[in-house]
Point group: D2
Chain length 328, copies 4
Amino acid sequence: MHFKVGVAGHTGYSGAELVKILGRHPSCEPVLLDHRETEGITSRLRRVALEPGAVAAAQLDAVLLATAPEVSLDTVPWLLKTGTRVVDLSGAFRLRTVENYQRWYGATHTSPELLALAIYGLPEFNRTQIAGAQFVSNPGCYPTAANLALRPLLQANLVDKSHGVVCDAKSGVSGAGRKPSLKTSFCEVTGNFSAYSVLNHRHVPEVLQLSGLQEEEFSFTAHLLPIARGILETIYLRATTGNVNRIAEVFAAQYSSEPFVRLYQPGTLPDIHAVAHTNFCDIGFVADPANSRVVVVAAIDNLVKGAAGQAVQNLNLMLGLPETEGLL
Amino acid sequence: MHFKVGVAGHTGYSGAELVKILGRHPSCEPVLLDHRETEGITSRLRRVALEPGAVAAAQLDAVLLATAPEVSLDTVPWLLKTGTRVVDLSGAFRLRTVENYQRWYGATHTSPELLALAIYGLPEFNRTQIAGAQFVSNPGCYPTAANLALRPLLQANLVDKSHGVVCDAKSGVSGAGRKPSLKTSFCEVTGNFSAYSVLNHRHVPEVLQLSGLQEEEFSFTAHLLPIARGILETIYLRATTGNVNRIAEVFAAQYSSEPFVRLYQPGTLPDIHAVAHTNFCDIGFVADPANSRVVVVAAIDNLVKGAAGQAVQNLNLMLGLPETEGLL
Amino acid sequence: MHFKVGVAGHTGYSGAELVKILGRHPSCEPVLLDHRETEGITSRLRRVALEPGAVAAAQLDAVLLATAPEVSLDTVPWLLKTGTRVVDLSGAFRLRTVENYQRWYGATHTSPELLALAIYGLPEFNRTQIAGAQFVSNPGCYPTAANLALRPLLQANLVDKSHGVVCDAKSGVSGAGRKPSLKTSFCEVTGNFSAYSVLNHRHVPEVLQLSGLQEEEFSFTAHLLPIARGILETIYLRATTGNVNRIAEVFAAQYSSEPFVRLYQPGTLPDIHAVAHTNFCDIGFVADPANSRVVVVAAIDNLVKGAAGQAVQNLNLMLGLPETEGLL
Amino acid sequence: MHFKVGVAGHTGYSGAELVKILGRHPSCEPVLLDHRETEGITSRLRRVALEPGAVAAAQLDAVLLATAPEVSLDTVPWLLKTGTRVVDLSGAFRLRTVENYQRWYGATHTSPELLALAIYGLPEFNRTQIAGAQFVSNPGCYPTAANLALRPLLQANLVDKSHGVVCDAKSGVSGAGRKPSLKTSFCEVTGNFSAYSVLNHRHVPEVLQLSGLQEEEFSFTAHLLPIARGILETIYLRATTGNVNRIAEVFAAQYSSEPFVRLYQPGTLPDIHAVAHTNFCDIGFVADPANSRVVVVAAIDNLVKGAAGQAVQNLNLMLGLPETEGLL
């Protein structure tokens, strides 16, 4: 089997990662959908204009959009009409309501009718739906790690929500995109570390949606790490039990057969090197039996499991391919 | 006025910073107290052996110990008998009880009689005691930032302790000392980020002691940042009020005339660049009026306000010099 | 004595360093000359518009221009007419001929009559002229290190010019300025290293002018180091002698009483840490007695001895102050 | 086909890279040859003791030694007697004479009889010999880039040797190995850059051997880059022609069908990002037609084309596999 997969936004970091992964994928061939030419990017890959006629003529099996939300909003409607499969890596179709989109993205959602169609592409929780979908909305980087770390504990009723959950998240600079800005310039970032979007990051509602936590129960702060790629989240919660084994069991029950989630022995924790350039989400935790305090640490590569790798994982499911193909 | 100030442990990062600060100090002259020679360190400064006869003969006005706790435990007793002033930068005399020392440092405290004599050297809270002291125990780096950020809010009863306080702390690598190890080698640290000492860092009891929080109310995780120097702590708490102005007022009442604490406008936050190579502790916060969630961010340079700078601030007080001399 | 010193271009890295150095200078007070407002820069310093009436009215003792060459070209003529002293940190007045300016800066020089007036501000070679000057052109960062390393050997006829001189230069990213660009964005620079302006860097003619080398005798390549600040140049030449002591003597004769040049023992070499945040130029060399090959390594901080620090060194001379004031 | 390939020294950076590459290799299975256990390394791979009986019993198709020269000296003799193929990544068997080994490695060579047997493993120049060899000595990282950049020009008589050749080389820290030391600790390396082994690096004789240059004609300086991996070498020479096209033709004639050498358009140059985590050697050059000065820039990943990748490239040839297998 051989699939032609269009990639829009290949000049950005997530898009370039898509092209790289698909370039090594045994069953897929990347095709560049040129939204615009960008400085310093050349490629021998086939190029197709990102407009309805050209895309339809190219008979693509799927299109991956590594574009800004506003571009995805404009593009997804006509793309779906060409009959191709679509994975959108932007935030345009992740939230279930237009009200939430308006609040967190500060813009009107122009395709509300497609929200019901968009399947949230976190395979560890809705693999079946993804496999049958024409349109998948790829999760945000921060929510991927947070939801994988939190959801099993929440579903097993192991979290005392009244205490609230704190997620202190740190990301490498590629998470901010490739567009030059003072905030992401080398001299401002190196030797530095800073918090941003405290309590109001647009990824928060994605966690609330999937975890069932209320906004006041989930405190999230993003930080900019002086590294190129990788996310580490340190999550603090009060458990309903101080029994370390119980927590370990819940994680194992959820993830022991997952190909892209790796669990650490209780008391040991992943770091970013462990997951960089991979599609793994690594999870470890420390529990304080005396007071039922639990600290969960989850690490991913923001460009792989947090973006391009997860998109290909979804694509594999949509195309009926082995879920791990091209990703190990 | 001119004071001779001995520095032990000048081959470490904190000790080297002490020598640098004292070298520019208008009223002090550093004297090296050689605990041992170390590779790659040369100096034209006067050297005196770190042993009773030599130190007594040198008639030092003060001695600053940038040594390991076990060295400080051996040294402080005889140093004090020579009549000199002492500032100990190690953790040997920070905790008030030998039980706490045994638990957190894993060793027997051999000079319990000196614990009552040791003044905890955080000038913003006990300037007067420091000024009259012969022996000051310099605070740890993490507790300096945490206590400066938390204590005003706690004393004003603005913290709902039942929700617990989370302190997610990140430090540059110099905090781990200068001794080579795999964990602090360049290739392991660059591009990486990791958590350590989750819920059991030995700096925790210093925060509990000064803040009055109970252990189960204070969750602390340390992380290793891929930078040389600087600490940023992100502190999460539930306030007893969502009134941003009230929080700002409490901070201002405490710090508006402090020379080394800088407050940020509500909603704006310091980063590590703002404090690197300075003796400042910068504090900002974000408050969520709807749910009374508050996130406080405090930043210091771990080698300056978190070690050598604060030691000289204490020394200035002990010698009757202006508190800021040599530090601006 | 107290001097008012205007600083134009304070939002750039060199300008910010000027403001920092002058802010600690015992005899000078910085005044901001606003060319434009820039994101994220605030200051409590006095501000004066960068136009003739305002500057004249402000009665400034000197003006330091950390501006682009084209801005300096427009500004210096009227500034000098106000009677104030001027140090220009741009490249606008460094080259002695308009032909050279046209070739290396790709623009017409609009004030050729001022070229004869501009004193090249390398104090180690023309201190006396600087002291009496109204207008000093501050050297480029690369030429400062290269000329300090090469000129003594050339003047002592120790260089076999027929073999050519190679200067392999590496600079931190602040040398590229503060304006955001893809090339200086964090993700592109971290973990990377690249050469640029091979054989045609606009700093080359500054070296030729002062050293007397011909263009074909001097091969220069610039490289971008993944650090914020600092320059290290590795210079290869064939000496007319393999006598290490002779080379050391020539350097010592030139520099042993210079306050800002430090010589290393033969066979030992400076690194960038040794000079970062200082106004020193550190010089070391290795000689191969058998074949008279000599490798000289020179290190400076590009923002200090390579820009702002040297400008203040020149300013001190122009104002009749001790040359080292505010710089140690 | 399926080959069992032993890896000794898997706890070092080159050895770990070998295990990683072989772990993805379609025709090879790595087996760990335990020289010693090291902190923080765990593996599910099969382990065999690095001693004659165990290795013979394991019936390995090949053994790759990522060990120190003294370990390789002790190991290679008995390894070869077991009949297995050997690729030695150390410097123990790279130099053709025991005198050279004594001079550059400061130790007596204990197996001089094996020097004639050792094939120097640079496939771009002696692919045929490698294919038939039992024992290959893998080139050093610096010489790999230098020889690939220089040898075509030298063989085409395009280099004016009387002017000398300068190779200014810069390497990431992994080149110094994984053993902790002050020089490779994070705080000493970050923000820093330094030269080392000026004119006397032990990799020099490897370049002389293959290029035919005399020692006085080749000036080599190594530098430590604040990055984890990657080498960039800037090579200066005087050509016997200023004809850019001629130089480009020589490179193209040599490399246009090489799978792991990529040539850049004249005037454009590779950087380290272009080759990191790949087995490519990228080569570009700038020529000055007026004076026949040529600057060649070559970049490799020191752990891949400079060590483990090249070793697997050699292994592929020795095993009769496609040369690129497991390396693209």
